[in-house]
């Protein structure tokens, strides 16, 4: 099972994402932003970081990278694609997911252990969880507040496309406590908190995040 992990200039969590893939039993393939070739991977992760410094808007510049053109095409054909944090921002900028991520309402970068509940277990990246399962994984970003118009929000809610929600106090002002969403098909998932930093209680708050990676490997075996 080959999972591609993309590195843009300024990407930070690529090595962590690759490690998470390996922990889950997959093979991580590193993909360079300037190459269109996806090297035959079965799924792709856009990891966290500050691609292009997060200047202008997070993800706004990366979205145009050559690798993204191939990824967008494959994602539209159903390839599992996970965007974590900056990756989620790229997915929104690329219009693979609706809405946008804006400045945290407190205006600070916020790094903390965050409880979220998994609200959709049918996506390619969440099948290892149980419906409503509460997990704790790190949240760390400056622009993690999910915003969209009312109609989009209603359709996300009605179609069960909210993957995860923050539990407790809203950490960043996200509408409806949204921590992650999926596309209609369930193969593209954007997630603000970082499951790749929670695959081992030694270095993370928990090992709760591993499920995202085992889910996708399962999904690919199933095919």
């Amino acid at each position: 099972m080959k999972v591609g992990v993309v590195t843009f200039p300024g990407t930070l969590d690529d090595r962590d994402a690759a490690r998470a893939v390996r922990f889950a039993g997959g093979q991580a393939i590193s993909l360079w932003h300037g190459d269109e070739d996806l090297q035959g991977v079965d799924a792709v992760i856009l990891p966290g970081g500050f691609s292009y410094g997060d200047y202008l808007r997070c993800g706004a510049i990366s979205r145009f990278a050559p690798v993204m053109q191939s990824i967008i095409k494959r994602a539209n054909e159903g390839m599992p694609l996970l965007g974590i944090c900056n990756g989620f921002q790229v997915l929104c900028e690329a219009h693979l997911l609706p809405g946008a991520l804006t400045r945290n309402h407190e205006l600070h970068f916020l790094c903390r252990d965050q409880k979220i509940s998994i609200e959709n277990i049918t996506s390619a990246w969440t099948s290892a969880y149980t419906q409503g399962q509460e997990i704790v994984i790190p949240l760390k970003n400056g622009e993690g507040s999910f915003q969209c118009d009312d109609a989009t929000l209603a359709s996300l809610e009605n179609d069960g496309r909210i993957i995860a929600r923050y539990v407790g106090e809203n950490p960043n002002g996200s509408r409806n406590l949204i921590a992650g969403i999926t596309n209609a098909r369930g193969n593209v998932v954007g997630l603000m908190p970082h499951p790749e930093h929670a695959i081992d209680a030694l270095t993370g708050p928990t090992a709760d995040g591993l499920g995202f990676f085992t889910s996708v490997l399962q999904a690919m075996v199933g095919k």
Binding site: P9, G10, L12, D13, R15, D16, R19, G49, F50, Y52, G53, D54, Y55, E106, H108, F109, L110, C111, R112, P138, K140, G142, H194, E196, H197, L202, T203, G204
Partner: protein
């Protein structure tokens, strides 16, 4: 203005030069003329003035810092010592670790965000320059009074700057300090530390060897940043503005630095550089003269090749510019294509600006005309050395004879009030408001960070080898007795490593003081260096490097002498570290070490406006025995938790332990006021399973450390004799301070 060339300098010896404005003294200027046998060109004057500034030449401190060499510990662990960009220590398994701490105090007062951000950027490049991958940062900070309006301007900006830059580089922040004192109003201390790791064989040095090798400038383009900054920074003219339209504040671009790091590491991995130097204070003046001086001595540079952000810059300004995110490498001609290809891959601008020559002169041209022709050692390494007068200041006798008078809580209500007061006082309050703005998870190797005693990162994923770093300063004690104060800070930093079970290995430091022209300040400094050198020798810890920041004062009022000591330790298996707190009930709590009547310089005294008394005497032999006990307790799996006592004494330590996992404790104290509030150094609280009692007592006896059972864990309160403090009340007191002040 006409170009001032070497030729014109020879023919116009009488030309008046603004050496005073540039910070050079009359006799220093005379020396430059003597070295050159003529007057310097304006470019040469620029170079000498920045390189001979306090900041770059250490002219006031050098004569004292020599002790770190004279009293050096003989150890094979030190792979690269003082003098290079950063010292390098062997941590085993073929790994080498480099760490260094630096100040960015004055710029952070002027522009808190950018000052702090570029402080982080600068120290990270120092570490990168050694050939290492930066793996973590720390930020010891000091500010004016927490309630002061200006602190509300400076602190949030500094925190956002440290986070903004470090987060964007992908470096976990694993610790630091936030301390308040009125002497830091107008003189905030922003110290930044970086740790890097490499294989032994990958160590790089700042030297330009091999005639014909190319000098390559790569990274950001050069702008008019911080021109004159270096000499202004560390000179008495601080505050006077530099040349019009030339900013004294630099703006950092962490994205460019992140790319520069990855690009450099790829270049190092391909073994494409002979020598390398980052551009920090004094920019190209420093990089070219140090590289040449560190090598065989000869170098020629075509300054007009330097890519500019601002085309109006003069050669003098280009030489002095402190534009961030630049590096200078020495590359063999056969490797240059590959070097440039890697830069291109990362979209990093790289330009060959010169070459290493056979001579012993550093020669710089501007459109073909020679504007600099100097022996590089005279610029970089043979600057002036001052023997500044120093004398014990009058305040010492006076404060040392003062009696510390503080209220002693007796009743349960008073004890509770004292514990809550300490829990919430800005110096001891929970720092999550700060550290939540820092990424501690990135790179996936962070084992410990705030609020642990030390930061700890895993170095090798397969063997679980790790390193720990702690920084400490106790300015109150240094004020009362700078010699003992720094030894106590050293012992504390080492203890903060050992509580987790790591072995202290090496020391770095950042010495923050007032004006060296004040004999009293100079005495504080001299005593501090003497204390640190003696302390390191006694503890067997080599000093791998450090940084001196002078002129931290407003008018005639200097900051408290603030030597920040960083200790690096190694741990063979991070999985076995001793955590700082317990997460279950039913454990026994012991105090290691004895408590005396030590209120001078304590937080309790500070809260009550008391600054006098005598600092405790350090006992480094006892400190080392305690550390050995803490390491043994880890390897023999005796401890469930261990946490050091420092500011705020046992009261603060217990507060932090019970709140960590929301598990309370009940302790019995004979003399609660003294036991809770005194700050006798050399103490640690450990939690053990009762089955480990004999093992603990045996080890403690062996180490000759007094070991007293003080209580047990459990419940939802911190109970001291009959005084019950519910955890939720304690938590509110501890956590509300920072959001209230700065949220």
């Amino acid at each position: 203005m006409a170009l001032d060339t070497v030729a014109s300098a020879k023919t116009s010896p009488e030309t008046k030069q603004p050496f005073l404005e540039l910070g050079l003294k009359e006799d220093e200027y005379a020396r430059v003329r003597e070295i050159l046998g003529r007057r310097p060109t304006s470019s040469e004057l620029a170079m000498y003035s920045v390189m001979w500034s306090e900041h770059c030449s250490y002219k006031s401190s050098k004569t004292h810092l020599k002790q770190f060499g004279d009293k050096a510990v003989k150890t094979d662990a030190l792979l690269v010592g003082i003098g290079e960009n950063a010292g390098v220590v062997d941590v085993g398994q073929g790994y080498a670790v480099t760490f260094k701490i630096e100040s960015h105090n004055h710029p952070s007062f002027i522009e808190p965000y950018q000052g702090a951000a570029t402080g982080v950027g600068g120290i990270v490049r120092d570490i990168l320059t050694m050939g290492a991958r930066p793996i973590a940062v720390m930020d010891p900070l000091r500010f004016g009074p927490a309630e002061a309006a200006d602190t509300r301007r400076v602190l949030p900006g500094v925190i956002a700057g440290v986070g903004g830059y470090g987060n964007c580089l992908g470096l976990p922040n694993i610790g630091g300090e936030v301390t308040f004192d009125e002497t830091y109003a107008g003189n905030p201390l922003v110290n930044a530390l970086c740790i890097g790791v490499m294989k032994h064989s990958d160590i790089k040095l700042a030297k330009a060897a091999g005639a014909g090798n190319l000098v390559v400038l790569y990274g950001a383009k050069t702008g008019g940043d911080g021109i004159g900054g270096v000499s202004v920074l560390a000179s008495e003219t601080f505050g006077a503005s530099g040349p019009a339209k030339r900013p004294s504040v630099q703006v950092g671009d962490p994205f460019v630095e992140k790319v520069l790091i990855e690009c450099s590491l790829e270049i190092f991995a391909a073994d494409l550089v002979v020598g390398i130097q980052d551009l920090g204070g004094a920019g190209l003046s420093c990089a070219t003269s140090e590289l040449a001086s560190g090598g065989t001595g000869g170098m020629s540079v075509e300054l007009d090749r330097v890519p500019l952000r601002d085309p109006s810059l003069s050669p003098e300004e280009i030489l002095m510019s402190e534009s961030q995110e630049r590096m200078c490498a020495i590359v063999e001609p056969k490797n240059i294509d590959q070097f440039l290809a890697i830069c291109k891959k990362w979209d990093v601008t790289a330009t060959v600006i010169g070459e290493v020559t056979t001579g012993d002169r550093l020669q710089i041209t501007w459109h073909g005309e020679l504007i600099v022709d100097v022996p590089p050692r005279t610029v970089a390494h043979e600057g002036p050395v001052y023997q500044r007068p120093f004398a014990e200041p009058a305040y010492i006798k006076q404060v040392n004879s003062e009696k510390v008078v503080v209220p002693m809580p007796i009743t349960d209500a008073e004890i509770k009030a004292a514990v809550l007061k300490l829990a919430g006082t800005p110096n001891l309050a929970d720092k999550s408001w700060v550290t939540a703005q820092y990424d501690k998870y990135v790179q996936g190797n962070t084992i410990q960070a705030q609020p642990d005693d030390s930061g700890m990162v895993r170095v090798d994923e397969s063997t679980h080898l790790g390193v720990a770093v702690a920084t400490d300063a106790n300015a109150n004690w240094s004020y009362l007795n700078p010699y003992e104060g720094v030894k106590l800070a050293l012992a504390e930093a080492a203890r903060n490593i050992a509580t987790a079970g790591a072995q202290p290995l090496a020391v770095s430091n950042c010495l923050n003081f007032g004006s060296p022209e004040d004999p009293g300040v100079m005495w504080q400094f001299a005593e501090t260096v003497r204390g640190l050198a003696d302390g390191c020798l006694e503890m067997g810890l080599p000093v791998t490097g450090g940084n001196v920041s002078f002129y931290n004062q407003t008018g005639s009022t200097a900051i408290l002498p603030t030597p920040v000591i960083a200790v690096l330790g190694v741990i063979d298996d991070v999985r076995t570290r001793t955590p700082m707190s317990f997460d279950r009930a039913g454990l026994d709590l012991y105090l290691l070490g004895e408590t005396g009547e030590d209120f001078a310089g304590s937080e309790w005294a500070f809260i009550h406006g008391q600054r006098g008394g005598q600092a405790p005497q350090s006992d480094l032999q006892a400190a080392m025995r305690l550390n050995a006990l803490l390491v043994a307790g880890r390897t023999e799996k005796i401890f469930t938790a261990a946490h050091d006592l420092s500011q705020g004494g046992l009261s603060a330590t217990l507060t932090e332990m019970v709140l960590r996992h929301d598990v309370g404790a009940t302790v019995k104290l004979n003399n609660p006021a003294l036991d809770l509030l005194s700050e006798t150094p050399g103490r640690v609280v450990v939690a053990i399973d009762s089955s480990k009692k004999d093992a603990l007592l045996t080890q403690a006896k062996k180490a000759q450390i007094v070991c007293t059972q003080i209580g047990t864990t459990g419940g939802d309160s911190l109970t001291i004799n009959d005084c019950v403090i519910p955890l939720n009340e304690l938590r509110i007191a501890h956590t509300e301070t920072f959001p209230r002040l700065f949220g």
